[in-house]
């Protein structure tokens, strides 16, 4: 038993891109421990979603569908994930809201150790060690898990999405193991989705983030810039707390962790908690009227200026540069 199980994430009958980061981890981990990896696709429309996982190199695609899986609840999913996991050495998912909610519960059910949000898998002989950020990314710990089954979640921005390489994985249907007792006492009420035509924050090549300084003009100022760049929009905690941006857009230690090619921090001071979520970006641009704002310490290009005058000018400049 030296195989890796990827717990895929499904939304609306589609495989979420978060899954592909866990697959990248699985490819590396399986190679280290000398096994293969399989992908567990569980949820409403899992059969359809599993087809999207073809070509990623999995030994098997394990599909679990059941009417009671329609709206995700950890109490309904964990027993099945744990039952399937029993045949594996390592269980991995991505540290999205879904993974963070579900995987520790699965680990507890298995009596397994859990390491969250790992950014690197290290092969130490034939055993696995994991690197994970701590203290808002100001330190990294190298840890290992001593239980027969290990459960980990990976940071999406640290594991490039696996690309299909061809080949067919065998598809197997797995029976739903039923809910845990706890499920009797939890009821799904609603999901208020924030619809957006923009790319996912965690997958975008360019992210334009705004802070408290934007006030009610958050969208009015940032949308044209995001449009011209095809960028995702992010926000600081202060902007989310004040309601200028939906909380789903918060970038930081306790929000989304992003590492795009290009990140704009606009009217963001650069608190430690914000930096933790974007310091891994390839190129960072900061626009802030305070020359001493800490954001300039991590910015590749800093512009000390009033954002309300600068951003519209920047939109025009980029349009012109793109021709």
């Amino acid at each position: 038993m030296a195989d890796v199980l990827v717990v895929a994430e499904v939304a609306e009958g589609k495989l979420k891109k978060t899954t592909h980061s866990a697959v990248t981890f699985a490819q590396k981990a399986a190679a280290t421990i000398g096994g293969s990896f399989s992908i567990l696709v569980i949820g409403d429309g899992a059969g359809k979603a599993a087809a999207e996982a073809q070509g990623l190199g999995a030994a098997k695609l394990l599909v679990v569908e059941d009417a009671s899986l329609k709206n995700y609840l950890a109490e309904r999913y964990a027993p099945t994930v744990a039952a399937v996991a029993k045949g594996y050495a390592v269980v991995v998912g991505t540290a999205s809201a879904y993974g963070k909610d579900l995987l520790p519960r699965v680990a507890a059910r298995l009596g397994a150790g859990y390491a969250s949000d790992i950014t690197e898998v290290l092969a130490d002989g034939g055993t696995l060690k994991y690197k994970r950020p701590m203290f808002a990314g100001n330190a990294f710990g190298i840890c290992s898990i001593s239980t027969p089954i290990q459960v980990v979640s990976v940071r999406q921005s640290a594991f490039a999405a696996a690309e299909p390489t061809g080949g067919q994985s065998a598809v197997e249907t797995v029976a739903y193991a039923g809910p845990s007792k706890a499920a009797e006492r939890v009821e799904f009420v609603s999901f208020d989705q924030v619809k957006s035509a923009r790319p996912e924050l965690t997958e975008a090549r360019v992210v334009v983030s705004g802070g408290r300084a934007l006030k009610e003009k958050f969208n009015q100022v940032l949308d044209p810039l995001a449009d011209v760049l095809g960028a995702a929009v992010g926000a600081s905690r202060a902007a989310c707390d004040a309601g200028y941006a939906p909380s789903d857009l918060q970038v930081g230690q306790t929000g989304k962790i992003v590492a795009p090619q290009l990140y704009f921090a606009i009217g963001i001071s650069g608190a430690i908690q914000h930096l933790a979520g974007m310091k891994g970006s390839k190129v960072i641009v900061a626009i802030n009227k305070d020359a001493d704002a800490p954001i300039f310490q991590v910015a590749d290009y800093g512009l000390v200026a009033d954002l309300f005058a600068t951003v519209p000018e920047l939109v025009k400049g980029i349009q012109a540069a793109k021709g």
């Binding site: 109490e75 909610d101 918060q250 306790t254 512009l303």
Partner: protein, 275 residues
């Protein structure tokens, strides 16, 4: 309602960039940093206080709020501060960070829950030092209780909580029947985030957490604070996760200031080649 709030102290998170890692990589040195309550746990405490009162009369507690920490003797300071803020009783489980992992904390909490029988365990979604985000979920599974993680709003109902959770793509609302585990997110301390059955829906709290008044700080010295041995809560004290070393993050190379938008666009296009 009886609420148990696990509360961890952490090295000042606003100065987390001052932690030092010795060349040997054997530890994370937080010397010189002040101890602070984990902000998410402070928020959980605030939410617990809001759930056990009528917001218009915050000095009268309806129910009980018990705080618990795992730590050495000095962590009693953190517990006393929580008592001053309004918690009724405190428990310190004698332990040190380097001998704990999320699993062990959760196993010990489970034993404590079985003794204390709270209606809700209300805690932070993550401790901002280890950044693990796991104890609440593990505890819920060990107890076979329902959970609502990442809570941004809580409304008390008869025998249940209606919880709005911040998840990817929006807000998911769950109803959990008590007893349950709830882990809180940042927005739980906004003015209209938490309502007990007693608090009128028109009431608006101050944004953030409440502060202890001087008389309350004095009174807190007399509130009960019990010490418990970890061994009394967890017969097996082995951790499942162990750390072998620590490293500092790679430094970013210093950037430059550009003089205007024209220079910025030109650098992005020609130097960084990201346009």
């Amino acid at each position: 309602m009886k609420i148990l709030v696990p509360l961890k102290r952490v090295a000042d998170p606003d100065n987390a960039n001052k932690v030092k890692i010795p060349a040997s990589g054997e530890k994370i040195d937080t010397a010189g940093l002040e101890w602070k309550p984990n902000p998410f746990d402070e928020y959980a405490l605030e939410a617990a206080l809001r759930l056990t009162e009528n917001g218009t009369q915050p000095k009268v507690r309806a129910g009980e709020v018990v705080v618990v920490t795992f730590g050495p003797k000095e962590t009693e300071t953190t517990l006393r501060a929580a008592l001053a803020t309004g918690a009724d009783r405190a428990i310190r489980v004698d332990a040190t960070d380097d001998k704990l992992d999320g699993d062990l904390v959760a196993r010990a909490l489970r034993a404590l829950v079985e003794k204390e029988k709270p209606d809700v365990v209300l805690m932070g979604k993550q401790a901002v030092d280890g950044d693990s985000n796991q104890v609440g979920q593990i505890l819920a599974e060990l107890l076979d209780w329902p959970m609502a993680t990442f809570a941004a709003t809580i409304r008390e109902e008869a025998g249940a909580l209606l919880v709005g959770r911040e998840v990817d793509g929006g807000v998911s609302t769950l109803r959990v029947k008590l007893p349950a585990v709830v882990t809180v997110d940042l927005r739980i301390v906004a003015p209209t985030s938490v309502y007990s059955l007693k608090t009128p829906q028109t009431h608006k709290y101050n944004d953030g957490v409440r502060f202890a008044a001087l008389p309350a700080i004095m009174a807190a010295k007399k509130k009960p604070l019990a010490e418990v041995k970890l061994a009394d809560l967890a017969s097996d004290q082995a951790t499942k996760v162990s750390y072998h070393g620590f490293a500092a993050p790679p430094a970013r190379k210093a950037g430059i200031k550009v003089k205007d938008v024209g220079e910025l666009v030109s650098k992005l296009k020609n130097e960084a080649k990201v346009l």
